[in-house]
């Protein structure tokens, strides 16, 4: 049977790409920062895996292994001093860290702690901070595009020198919200950058079942906006393509759709066994096109950094994550009745239901009784 659409991106295309000339735009310090944030992302996620296996993570765990360059490179193109704002997706932990999210916050979120940024209401990296410049995502894919169109609309209306950036995956490009949001922003010439991280899979669905478009960047033409495609596993390429889009937006040039080509090396979430992935595909990307390996190789080749300096940074990150883990583990769980706070500004607290009046917590022990019938007695 003939296949329609595009196959998942192949790693060979970018294999051994260390010949790209040194960019003059980023100072050596900043280039080391790119490394720091990619490594921080990966190490933090590895720690979260450990906590997950220790059953200390309450919900699911989402990785961005192999996609760190997309997140970090693109987020670096924003100007935090100007108040630029991004909206991350589930593989954009790195973008949030660049904007100032703290590892302890992330771990508290995953552990459902009472002093997590959402006070235990939301999971994983679903949180935001307008001051630091990131808006919390929701699970409904594509929905953040109209929202960030509105954020950027407010910049335009107030004549502020600010840019908004929203991440979506290849899967979200099929949603109505993606279409409506990008079209709205295009018509309004909002200062918005839409980064489509094409990692080949939406949960188990490969790109060829998601779209008949030859490449996702082609969608830009239909909206009458600029479109660019870049190697998402090259952190400098991700930075540069996003920087051009951010500059265009800031100069009044409207919306840009960027397709960053990358690969999702882990499943949709930690429970996903990736049975749908062709044999050898993951290993090939891991061996030949790891964004951190590639960047390290380039930095060493260019003499930007020495191996022992990288080891020092890695050790610092390890210590930072250790401290964050200790802090998060020591955090309290939420008070049960905090669940009734903050649905509205007014009333700020809703009264408990009659059968909860005077009740401190709903259950004594959170264990599944055998009477539920899910276990053999």
């Amino acid at each position: 049977m003939a296949r329609t659409g595009n196959p998942a991106p192949r790693p060979a295309k970018f294999h051994g790409d260390t010949r790209t000339p040194v960019r003059g735009m980023l100072s050596p310090d900043v280039r080391l920062e790119l490394y720091y944030y990619m490594r921080l992302t990966r190490t933090l996620e590895e720690r979260l895996v450990n906590l997950y296996r220790q059953t200390k993570v309450v919900g699911g765990l989402f990785r961005s292994l192999g996609q760190e360059a997309c997140a970090v490179g693109s987020a670096f193109a924003l100007d935090r001093s100007k108040g630029d704002i991004l909206s991350p997706l589930i593989r954009n932990l790195g973008s949030m860290l660049v904007q100032g999210a703290k590892p302890a916050e992330i771990i508290r979120q995953y552990m459902a702690k009472g002093d997590s940024p959402t006070r235990g209401r939301e999971l994983n990296i679903h949180y935001g901070d307008l001051v630091r410049g990131f808006v919390g995502q929701i699970s409904h894919l594509g929905d953040m595009v109209p929202v960030m169109a509105g954020v950027s609309l407010s910049f335009k209306m107030r004549k502020q020198d600010r840019v908004a950036l929203v991440y979506v995956g290849d899967g979200a490009t099929s949603t109505g919200a993606f279409h409506e949001g990008i079209n709205f922003a295009a018509v309004q010439r909002c200062p918005l950058v839409v980064v489509v991280e094409n990692n080949g899979y939406a949960y188990s669905t490969p790109l060829r079942k998601q779209t008949a478009a030859k490449q996702l960047v082609d969608k830009a033409i239909g909206y009458g906006i600029a479109g660019e495609r870049a190697d998402g596993n090259d952190v400098l390429a991700a930075y540069e393509v996003t920087k051009r889009a951010v500059d265009r937006a800031r100069a009044g040039g409207g919306v840009t759709l960027i397709e960053l080509v990358t690969y999702r090396r882990k499943g949709h979430a930690e429970h996903d066994n990736q049975s749908y992935v062709p044999a050898g595909e993951i290993d090939k990307w891991a061996a030949e096109n790891d964004p951190i390996d590639r960047y390290v190789k380039r930095m060493l080749t260019e003499g930007l950094v020495k191996e022992d300096e990288l080891k020092t940074i890695d050790a610092q990150i390890g210590a930072e994550i250790d401290r964050a883990t200790d802090e998060a583990e020591a955090s309290p769980m939420p008070e049960p009745d905090d669940a009734l706070v903050g649905v509205y500004a007014d009333p700020a607290v809703i009264p408990p239901l009659w059968f909860r009046e005077g009740v401190k917590s709903a259950v004594e022990v959170n264990e599944r009784p055998s009477s539920w019938g899910t276990h053999d007695v």
């Binding site: 109505g176 018509v187 009333p347």
Partner: protein, 325 residues
């Protein structure tokens, strides 16, 4: 001061709020150059320009989503749904994104979504809806549905100033059929407060929007013909519901008829009846009865629409049944 219509009252509120606060802006389909399908926003573009009166693509999800994003940043957007029937295409943005924003992410979402609602106008299945019950079930939203011109103005001003998202349903049957002199000054009506539209002592009708007028008509008829004294409560706000006003009228008359134009199953009346059951069962002398639309999509042809929607005579029938219980 002269009388203005329900529609003009809404428009007056929009003008006053845009004048008062430069963060207030309007967006929707055909609201600028054309002034809106019902001309509610007529004149706004001329006065406030394209930046603050935005003609949008046909994209309810984008209108609501973009309003939410702008609201996070301190703007006060007022979204028009050309007909409130189309709010369903923004349902996800409203219920999943907007309604949860404060709770899950401490993100303020002060915005208004307004639109022409309701039947009795031969609009058929997609220009006559009353979708309030679909949102009553969503914590984080507020819902208002005014029945009078002064409430239309006062609730719009309060909705725009509210710190959370307010769904503002405006009844298109009432747009140009009722007139009233506006209270002087900066007239606001508090969200969450019902109004006693008519005092009475024998039977209470709890209702809102266009059926307030039918209830008043029925009350007058049974006063003349049966000597019954009927109280009419106009809820004005559906979410949060004014439990105090509901309990007060139940304790006063001990017999309750709930009337709404929306369909019956899963409707607002069921929620009110449940609350009365839980809070003042022992004050009742009769079962709580409902007069509502039949559970069908609203048909177009006059004999069909008239048959489906609650009419004054139906309310009279309900009152008499309660009185004789």
């Amino acid at each position: 001061m002269s009388e203005i219509t329900y529609l003009e009252a809404i428009r007056e509120a929009l003008f006053e709020e845009m004048e008062r606060d430069e963060n207030v802006f309007c967006l929707g389909e055909d609201i600028g150059a054309y002034g809106g399908a019902f001309k509610v926003t007529e004149g706004l573009l001329a006065k406030y320009g394209e930046e603050r009166v935005i003609d949008t693509p046909i994209s309810e999800a984008a209108i609501i989503g973009a309003a939410a994003g702008a609201a996070h940043m301190g703007m006060r957007p007022v979204c028009e749904m050309q007909f409130i029937d189309f709010i369903s295409t923004g349902y996800d943005m409203l219920t999943n994104y907007v309604a949860t924003a404060r709770y899950r992410a401490m993100l303020p979402c002060p915005m208004v979504v307004r639109g022409p609602s309701g039947g009795y106008v031969r609009g058929g299945p997609f220009h006559s809806q009353n979708p309030e019950a679909a949102f009553l079930h969503t914590p984080g939203l507020k819902i208002v549905y005014p029945a009078t011109a002064s409430d239309a103005k006062g609730l719009m001003k309060s909705a725009i100033r509210d710190e959370d998202c307010v769904l503002y349903f405006e009844h298109k049957y009432l747009y140009r059929r009722i007139k009233e002199e506006m209270p002087a000054g900066d007239h606001t009506v508090p969200i969450g407060k019902a109004r006693v539209a008519r005092e009475g002592k024998d039977i209470s009708i709890i209702t809102y929007a266009a059926t307030v007028w039918k209830a008043l008509e029925a009350a007058e008829q049974v006063e003349k013909e049966d000597g019954l004294s009927v109280e009419v409560i106009d809820l004005r706000t559906l979410l949060p519901m004014d439990d105090e006003a509901i309990v007060a009228t139940v304790k006063k008359t001990n017999r309750v008829l709930i009337v709404h134009e929306d369909t019956r199953t899963g409707g607002v009346a069921g929620e009110i009846a449940a609350r009365i059951n839980e809070t003042c069962f022992e004050w009742l002398d009769a079962p709580v009865l409902r007069i509502t639309a039949a559970d069908v999509p609203l048909p177009y042809s006059p004999p069909l629409e008239d048959y489906v929607l609650p009419q004054t005579l139906d309310i009279v029938t309900g009152i008499r049944k309660l009185a004789s219980y």
